[in-house]
């Protein structure tokens, strides 16, 4: 899966839980949850949706690695890479 496809999946997920927002205008290093006003429930739902699209199950201890868009892209890209090289 390409980085562009991962990015699109993240943007789609963010638009679903924050329909009034424009995720594409997010700075790469901005705190996604704070910027888009995403609470714990929304964040969990975002991860459930991304799990369905990307096939990545994020353990709870990794939540802290998903603060910015850049961190999310890096994280999912690496996890997808791990599963395809196994």
């Amino acid at each position: 899966m390409s980085d562009a496809e991962i990015k699109r999946a993240i943007f789609d997920g963010l638009r679903k839980i924050a329909p009034e927002s424009d995720p594409e205008s997010l700075a790469l290093d901005a705190n996604v949850r704070k910027t888009l006003d995403i609470d714990s429930y929304d964040f969990l739902n975002l991860l459930i949706g991304l799990n369905e699209k990307l096939g990545v199950e994020v353990p709870e201890q990794d939540y802290g690695k998903l603060r910015s868009l850049k961190e999310m892209l890096d994280y999912f890209s690496a996890r997808i890479g791990e599963s395809t090289t196994k």
Partner: protein
């Protein structure tokens, strides 16, 4: 038309979901109404057969208007000697009518003050539902009808929502003598237990801290039941069932606190399922009438927004609101040493007519105790 909020005066009947002759059972959704808080599904509270539909969709109707009659199981169809009293629509949705000058209505039962006000305000007494003894129209009924017949400029959903919140919160501040208490709770055990649980679960089965807090409140209320109920007619009406009003952010609009029914009986997984069901419906305007009216206490958690301590305004006629801030690592004194612990500030806003600070303090102590043994929640 049921009252679906502390200061709801009227709503627009949008759609019937039943027709005469349909069998209904308790909890079935029979109609949809548009209130200031969005589209609400109206449930029926008895089993039976829909006998008559008395109100047409598209009309704004005051609280108390008879919408339909339901015949109990096995009861014969009633013989209507006189038509049921039906308050007519105050205004069609799409058009505003000029005020009607009241004509003399000698057969209408109204107090002299109500008649005088009706004359001054141009309210047609025949179209007002009386709330006084025996259905007598009182001045308050006339003032309410006058307020609703005024031509109103259409409001955006967010504006209507704020207006509903403003009415309820103003009433709360006017009528309820609040007292406030706060305590700090060491969340080490609760968070540790939750982390262990979630490590064994897939994403869609994971629990949020919020469900522990809801259940801990419900369990603590067993120790201090005076905080679970309503203040009505100068009396505390304690409720056995804990219907937890769970505050949900409607993103750009505000907060709404629909009831999670029987929170005291639900497991943590059932509470999580209830949240998964309730939040999307609250945000898409598909709440049910009982969810807006049944809450016996409100729970608000603003921890996700970085708030450490919150002191809420009680939603009348409830008598308490429990607030939670964020869990933050703080210095914590224990056995003569300072350690760092994840700490949560829990607050109680309570109605001083129903309880005093001693009972409030006992509740917060019980809440703390429950959160130290999360495996028993």
């Amino acid at each position: 038309m049921p009252s679906l909020g502390a200061d709801m005066r009227a709503a627009i009947l949008m759609r019937w979901r039943v027709k005469p002759g349909d069998r209904v059972k308790r909890g079935d959704i029979i109609a949809e109404v548009e209130t200031d808080k969005g589209l609400i599904e109206i449930e029926v509270f008895e089993n039976g057969v829909v006998d008559q539909i008395l109100a047409e969709p598209g009309k704004k109707l005051p609280v108390g208007t008879v919408l339909a009659t339901i015949r109990g199981e096995g009861e014969p169809a009633p013989v209507i000697v006189t038509p049921p009293v039906v308050a007519p629509a105050l205004e069609p949705v799409s058009e505003a009518k000029p005020p009607v000058r009241a004509a003399p209505m000698p057969h209408v039962r109204a107090s002299p003050l109500a008649r005088k006000s009706a004359q001054e305000l141009g309210v047609d007494l025949s179209k007002v539902t009386g709330t006084g003894a025996g259905g007598v129209i009182e001045q308050a009924d006339v003032l309410q009808a006058a307020a609703m017949t005024k031509e109103e400029k259409p409001l955006a959903p967010a504006e209507k929502f704020r207006r509903a919140v403003a009415a309820a919160m103003s009433r709360s501040n006017r009528e309820i003598p609040h007292y406030y208490l706060a305590t700090e709770i060491d969340m080490t055990r609760s968070l540790g237990w939750l982390t262990d649980q979630n490590a064994k679960r897939s994403l869609k089965d994971r629990l949020l801290v919020a469900v522990l807090l809801i259940k801990a409140v419900a369990r603590a209320l067993a120790d201090v039941p005076e905080l679970n109920g309503y203040w009505i007619d100068d009396q505390l009406q304690k409720k056995d069932a804990v219907h937890a009003g769970f505050a949900i952010a409607l993103r750009q609009i505000g907060l709404i606190a629909p009831a999670i029914h029987d929170a005291h009986l639900k497991t943590l997984d059932e509470l999580m399922a209830a949240i998964h069901d309730l939040i999307p419906r609250a945000r898409s305007g598909r709440l049910r009438s009982s969810e807006l009216t049944d809450a016996t206490i409100t729970i608000t958690n603003l921890g996700d927004l970085g708030i450490e301590t919150l002191f809420g305004v009680i939603y009348p006629p409830q008598v308490a609101l429990v607030g939670f801030g964020k869990v933050a690592n703080r210095p914590w004194a224990e056995r003569g040493t300072i350690v760092v612990r994840p700490v949560l500030t829990a607050t109680l806003s309570a109605d001083h007519r129903a309880t005093d600070g001693l009972r409030g303090a006992q509740f917060l102590e019980a809440l703390n105790d429950r959160l130290q043994t999360p495996e028993k929640l």
